[in-house]
Symmetry: D2
């Protein structure tokens, strides 16, 4: 069970870290200052400068061969293992736009996985190629406003067969990135047969984002911001017609696709959260050594030694667990690795949230202000506790797997 940095990935980590620190971080700051300045007033349209920054960095990454690392176990990309990729994800997690620069951003990576694994050749030609090239972006459209979507069997968005098409009606929300004009592809989970058995009710469609009848109602807010320009959209579908051949794998196999999609993505999210936690701990230490109060360095006051030590211990443990989940993914496959992925999905965002929160506190009020990245980091990892299933659902999975060891019957 090699969880370490391999010779293969070591130089990549180095290159990614350097590019993140030296090239991306400074421009990321500028990128964020541009938010909301598109002349149209549309906060989800990138400004020219933003596109210039993104495209320039993407070209640089591509030219250095730092591109599409996430295509693990494949001959298309680097052929990295999930464990190897995890280390890169950690580095990319430290700066907001970094993942996109290397074409490793969610939800595109998960969506590309879907196309790669389950798509027809036609699907791949139309959607996978431009995504792999970083020419378009995509959204994953699953969550619904009217049901607790963590129980996916409840998803009720309707798709009715009509000849060789399906007609879609309903609302979806939290479709991340769906407001970006560069987002051309929607992957949408629909209910094709509400009377089927629990895991055969749903189907997964590919469709252009600009089909007639698709209407973005509003961006969902995240802790008072719209998270522009990426954003999380509330969308209404009214009599949207999609050809049957754009079903992935076929009617009733939506769950299967969703399960296959979510494994790696959760590992990526979690490793990026580890990266955020590392960054927060570094900020906490630096601030603690820099500022003084009551005649001592902040680091030397109160419980700060313990807070720093706990952060270090918690980060190490969460990282090792993520690496083990990645290792399971590499060796026993998505289905068997599922309880491991549930574990890290609970652990990593909670841990990162705690470390960032402690770092904010040590910074004083400045810690929640625009002068530091901490508040932004905090809200992002807090949001992660809902994404891809809330903590409670993952804990439930872990407990059920544990109890099954001692029963023959399903618990």
């Amino acid at each position: 069970m090699d969880l370490g940095v391999t010779d293969k990935v070591r130089p990549l980590i180095e290159q990614v870290r350097n590019m993140v620190e030296q090239e991306i971080a400074p421009l990321d700051k500028e990128f964020h200052e541009e938010i909301g300045k598109h002349p149209s007033g549309d906060r989800f349209k990138h400004t020219d400068r933003q596109l210039e920054i993104l495209d320039g960095l993407k070209a640089m990454a591509k030219s250095r061969g730092l591109w599409n690392f996430w295509l693990t176990g494949s001959d298309k990309g680097y052929g990295l293992s999930t464990v190897e990729y995890a280390y890169l994800a950690e580095e990319m997690g430290k700066v907001g736009i970094a993942a996109e620069v290397f074409n490793c951003a969610a939800p595109d990576t998960g969506n590309m996985e879907v196309l790669e694994r389950y798509g027809t050749q036609a699907h791949k030609d139309r959607w996978l190629k431009p995504l792999l090239d970083g020419d378009i972006r995509s959204a994953y459209v699953m969550t619904e406003p009217n049901v607790a979507s963590s129980d996916a069997a409840q998803l009720a968005f309707e798709a009715k067969k009509d000849g060789d098409h399906y007609v879609l009606n309903g609302e979806k929300w939290w479709a991340s990135g769906a407001g970006d004009p560069r987002c051309k592809l929607f992957i949408v989970m629909v209910c094709t047969d509400p009377d089927a058995a629990k895991h055969g009710r749903h189907s997964m469609f590919l469709m252009p984002s600009d089909l007639e009848g698709i209407e973005v109602l509003r961006p969902m807010h995240v802790f008072n911001t719209d998270d522009a320009p990426h954003g999380h959209m509330h969308i209404r579908f009214t009599n949207v017609r999609v050809p049957a051949e754009d079903l992935v794998l076929g009617e009733g196999r939506g769950f299967e696709v969703a399960q296959g999609r979510l494994g790696p993505g959760r590992i990526h999210h979690c490793m990026r959260a580890i990266g955020q936690a590392e960054k927060a701990l570094e900020m906490m230490c630096r601030r603690g050594l820099q500022r003084e109060a009551f005649g001592k360095k902040l680091a030397d006051l109160g419980a700060n030694y313990d807070i720093i030590a706990n952060a270090r211990m918690e980060i190490e443990m969460a990282r090792l667990l993520c690496l083990k989940a990645a290792y399971m993914m590499d060796t026993v496959g998505v289905r068997e690795a599922q309880p491991w992925i549930s574990k890290i999905k609970v652990v990593a965002p909670l841990m990162a949230g705690k470390v960032i929160d402690d770092a904010m506190q040590l910074h004083g009020a400045a810690g929640i202000s625009q002068d530091f990245d901490l508040a932004d980091m905090y809200t992002k990892v807090r949001t992660l506790r809902f994404a891809d299933g809330p903590d409670a659902v993952h804990r439930r999975q872990v407990a059920r797997a544990e109890l099954r060891k001692y029963t023959n019957a399903k618990t």
Copy 2:
């Protein structure tokens, strides 16, 4: 030690609760939707509709005699005790603009305390009267960007005597409400003698907010928002001249004024946080009974019973502690009540943050969106962990008081 609702305050609680629920809450929603819509683009200017809402509600409160409750132990207001007032603060904490409607909002209440206790007649005539009438607002200007201001002895903002004036130079930040054009009075803590003994270095000035040389640099952000229209301002003072008679109590007595000011304010803050926690628990229960997943009500799933029970227990304990701190304030005075105030300052915002966080989680992603108040509530109570001294400083006070019981020497 009567910590209960007295006959005197019972009908007031009833009236305040009713007005908050029936009159203020609906308009609060509209008030918030107006934020940032002032034609000038200045987000800290209220729109006409916002002023209409506020002024209408204030007039209603005044006409019903629900006004200036905070003037505890005084013959000017209701003559409520701090304990009695605490119950009202809890109700006012449940809706954003409620405290202002009853002329009980920070930082005005603390500032009025300063004027009432320590001001000259001239100070009172000029500033206290319009504040008591709700005609103007005020700001308390203390925190500085370049030092850990929790150790107030470090505050370095310079005030040099020049004849019968002082000349002020320096920067202050987190001056809440200072960007509101209705804010006419600044109370500013300055360093008049950096070489004096620790608690004699500083002095407190009253000054109009539009003195020459005062420049609002920017609003400080709080978790990515500017908290408009109230806001928290970063201000530069350049050769601002203030007459010596606008010193409160006299040179070198800034600490004394600050200490006297902060006691009641912290109790108000904490009781409002209790109100927020109650609101969050109610939302958590209602959502838990409404939504279903995996064939059960959310409330019946996972650890939700325990989460709800813990919230209820934590709220009750924090409230009782706040009431006891209020009781101490009423009976032994600010100085002796200090360790009690430190206790609640740690306990109440932490508790409320936890309960609101749990409520967010039970709501799913909607819980952090604009569809519920929870994210806004969360960031406000999180901010409170810095306001009037961060947790670490208050814990330090509590520990020192505890250890002093066993030493003769100061610990």
Copy 3:
């Protein structure tokens, strides 16, 4: 809602505290050193010296009029309110044998409540009088080894009517104090009708502890000790015959009696736990000021300030909650006070356990040794998390009470 020390109880607190500190504490140490030294080898028989200590102190308490305080709201004792008594219970909690010295020890107090409230005159004459006089002790026999007894409806210990007697068969355990030869009375919860509705299945019997067919099988251990000489007995009943007139209230009313019994007892337990926490905090402070490491006082090292401050805050909150539960008991009665009692039953032992654990840690290994009382205190409050219902059951009660506010149906 007066939760304070009344003029009535103030001098009693003073007297009890003094007697605990000056008279009881020194002898308590000697009492404990005598454990297991009875010539018979029976660890549950007091040695002559132990009896001498107990009887001497009891006589002293009685002669000073410090006796049977627990008889709240009654004209038999002091007529103290539960709130008033709570303060005394806290003092008595600080030293092991103190509660017995003042005839305020569990399970006698609860058992006397049962006799006082529900007993016939004959019951009172036979059992209540000698208990009130401190001449005998008693046991409450309810928990069974074969079922999760926290769901009391499951209790299966069989009592079959046979003429004007009942014949009892079954096993009970955790009958505290039942091994003490001075324990003359057993109050036993039996199942008289397993087919009755859930709360009508059980009945409560009074019986002499030496009836034929009663056999003490073994003492249950608590963290590796038998808790002698009090102890917690595992008892087998074989064809034990009890006359029908020794039923309390009548057949099928066992639940009613049990509920009425448990309220005050839980408050007493919790207030004694508060007393233990206070003692642990004092020990923690004293040790922290006394010992040094790395050139500093232990108190000044690491997170100890925060640990001390947290302990102080948690104690204050738990005490106030206990006092409020006591107040509810005094004003709205046992049934309505139930959710309040559940709250403190969760909160107080957990809090005390945490404070004592922290105190142990600050003492180094000595903290868990015989050189300090901490380990003994720890195991006692840990045990309390099972007594009178485990935490989980009480949290469940609190949550259900909370959710009921928002439903018409029972949740």
Copy 4:
């Protein structure tokens, strides 16, 4: 960084696990029931039956070649890496006497490390051989009653040179195993020069346990038990004369020896704690599936799913961290691995204590009784939070290592 089970160690794990479960566990129960039954009344003398059990099992282990696994990186034992050994330690941790059966018990392993690494040939001949053969046992005698021994520089036990001998005077305590008559060797840390630099004051002596002037004063209690027959002794040394050649490495090098000794031992302790936590989790699941209350399995009630899931996640993370510390020990040596060892020393016993505590609670009162091993397990891991340095000292080490990354100066 291979943290997995190697082909080399896999069959050993299998054999050890089987022998622990099938041979040792049943006899361990009998072994414990014999405690205190030695005819002499000396609880630290094994009964004949106890010796028969131990010797029989040791012979069996030896004959199967399952012996001295701990000798990592050596050609004397199996040549296992620390990572490989860690997996075996976990298995041995599950049953009390198992580690001794395989000659892998503390403090002998650490003591043998000292002899192996730092001993002269004479030391090895006299002490190492019989220890490796399991013919004698040994004690490590370091902690002192009068100073906070976690700051080892404070150790004041005096050793004065007198010709070619040293004369020792002082008291030591918590000398584990020192009361066992089979314990023939003491390794004692003494202060040879109180005026030397901090890390040069102490020296380490080997000596027979029955030297004139050595007197066992008493066993230290651990949560009310004497932990017989192993025990933790308080010892007085009065003019004990030790020849200078029994100094390890030479005068003033006690710290060096202590540091080298403690690394592996802490890993062993921690991995055994992981084993205990696994056992507790299994017990918790089994009990949760077996018992019912309120019409449901305990596992399905309250927060038990979350409690089980958290236990599983915490165990996995702690184990991975231990394995990483072991890996560091194997690859960068004791000194560099130090902060990693500090991390697990904090994490593993705390985690195991939490899991065992939760398991106790789910068992109801039985969970702390003699009917289950949980209370015994709990007190052992609780004790571990003091052994080899309390948590606070290790957190301090971790924080200092972290802060040093950002300073040139020592923090």
